[in-house]
Symmetry: none
Subunit: 205 residues, 4 copies
């Protein structure tokens, strides 16, 4: 199960790509506003700029749209995070910068992250597993940076836990903005989280 497994009756691959991107963009706009369940396929078609008939030329079920959306968001996050990671200089500063970048990324993609967070559960088992694997990969990326950049050896488990903590702290910024963003600016939030992160690993300034 990958995004290429979403069957389309159209043959022209370039067109498929183009239409799906329109569709994903349209769907995200709508999902942000009203969630997956309250958005109709007709609305998605309209927002995407084509007819309901055309929509169904590129997907088979409404769930396919959700899958494409989730997949697309994950891919975007993953790619952008990946771009920030440079392990040639495995220093603590490098690690901290990755974490900062990750938080900033989560800020920029708040709404998308919220969609994923709330709607992934509506995917059916198989596709959900595929998407969650991407999440595991991303946590794995963080974990890898942590292990690589820290001088003291952390156990695999500790690294995993810490990676998860950072991961959800990033998501929390967007997901719980109603709670946090009234009292913190992004910079404050990042610096405080970084501070406690360093403390927790006894990293001296």
């Amino acid at each position: 199960m990958t995004e290429n497994d979403v069957l389309s009756s159209v043959k022209n691959q370039a067109l498929i790509e183009k239409r799906r991107n329109q569709m994903i963009k349209g769907a995200i706009t709508l999902f942000k506003e009203k969630g997956f369940h309250r958005t109709t396929t007709r609305e998605i078609a309209k927002e995407s700029g084509f007819s309901i008939g055309t929509l169904y030329e590129y997907i088979r079920t409404k769930e396919d749209v959700l899958f494409l959306v989730c997949d697309s968001i994950y891919e975007q996050v993953r790619k952008r995070l990946d771009a920030k990671i440079n392990l040639e200089k495995p220093t603590i500063d490098n690690l901290l910068n990755v974490i900062r970048s990750y938080f900033e990324l989560m800020d920029e993609m708040q709404e998308e992250v919220v969609i994923m967070y709330q709607e992934v559960k509506s995917l059916k088992k198989e596709t959900k597993e595929y998407v969650l694997q991407k999440e595991r990969d991303m946590v794995g990326m963080l974990e890898h940076v942590i292990v690589t950049c820290l001088p003291d050896q952390l156990s695999k488990k500790d690294a995993e836990l810490i990676a998860n903590n950072i991961f959800i702290q990033g998501q929390m910024w967007g997901y719980r903005r109603w709670m946090l963003q009234k009292h913190f600016t992004l910079e404050e939030y990042i610096e405080k989280q970084i501070y406690y992160f360093k403390q927790s690993l006894s990293i001296s300034i």
Copy 2:
């Protein structure tokens, strides 16, 4: 907007309480399984042990059920957490015990927490605000314990951040169990989180 604002055409208060509890119980069972949107009112009625007509004697819309469910879960968590908090001895050990209890609570109520986490968004603005206030209250409880039990003064903001971190680490245990519970037992998870919590606040053993 409180749970008493969900209108019922039945007058007997004790009966309302009883039926609503049946309803909440039934609904939670179903929401665990298939989520709010995929559960029908008829299924809720059936699972609750009465007819669709009776269901609607105690609520007015399907969303009322969701509200009652969310409200009930929050109340339960809040009460049980409250019971664990004893500020007569504001020691660090006491604080750590509260945190441990909170994690254990989140473990016991995993499924309920997942429901809330995913479905609160389907409430309409007004009731959502009411429910989220309960979440703020709970974070506030943690924050209060932290401030009270720590010898060194933490700023309000730092306390708030830390309380939020703990709060979501608790939720994460249930919400991301597919990621965590393969590699950690509850005890491991708790002890590691407690360990890093102490580190981050420079609390010596």
Copy 3:
């Protein structure tokens, strides 16, 4: 089929009378506002001052209420019209006074008349026939006055037609008030109708 054929499980006749009067009064209030179909039996019970259970002690179906209402309105109109008719002095003036009285009555009972006009059709064949007979009787009363008070002999048919014309001119005052009552006062309406009535029968002033 008479109003005594609406079965009641209550034995006490005086009580039946009392309750039915409450019920008719309540129902008329509601029917005026929203019509028969949009009024629920619960609303009728409430407006009548007793419970839904009690309502059903005195009727068997919702349609029974409509029947009692229609029957009651007809009876009221009939009685009040009857009271105005005095055939001891069968003069033209007497006839004109009856007609005036009838128009005034229709003005006073506008709303009730509208109910009947619109809802009788919802009665089932049998009871409708019974109610319509009352209408025939009333037209018959007018017809009788006409025949009796006019010096020149009118054929039966002509009398019937004229009685019907007057009858619906009276109803029209209430039923088409949105059209008439903007431009006419009741007095104007009556005097003009009387004027043309006299003209049509070549009655000199």
Copy 4:
């Protein structure tokens, strides 16, 4: 609010026209039989020859059907009446012919008129106002013919009253057929009404 304000999700105007005509025809058949409230949307769809889903492609609520039906009936009556009116020769004979035609029209459209008479009240305020305006227009047409064709000047009010009288005498023929059509043929009814009409205006033969 006009019949074009009934929203349809179908774009092809010709098709909308066609389907709405089917729908109106089907609905009238059913409303004649059981009235608006006792007719279900599914029955309307079936009688119209398409599925319930298709029905709702052309309307938004059941009330829309009622509106279309009422509007269509009024339009038909108005057009047919209009076609009978020829004011090039504003003679009394011409006036009498218009009245005759109107009565004949009411005879042909008895059932439709009954529907309107009984169901317009179920429209909501706004659409009801629109439909009643059409009724005012029709009465206005009669009024205009009366004023134009009569040699002696009638006051505006007198013309209005007389137009209303004729208007409801026409409706009465259908609406009170249970009373009238047992004793009168249409021709008798018309001739007698015309006779009294002439009398009332002192029109000599």
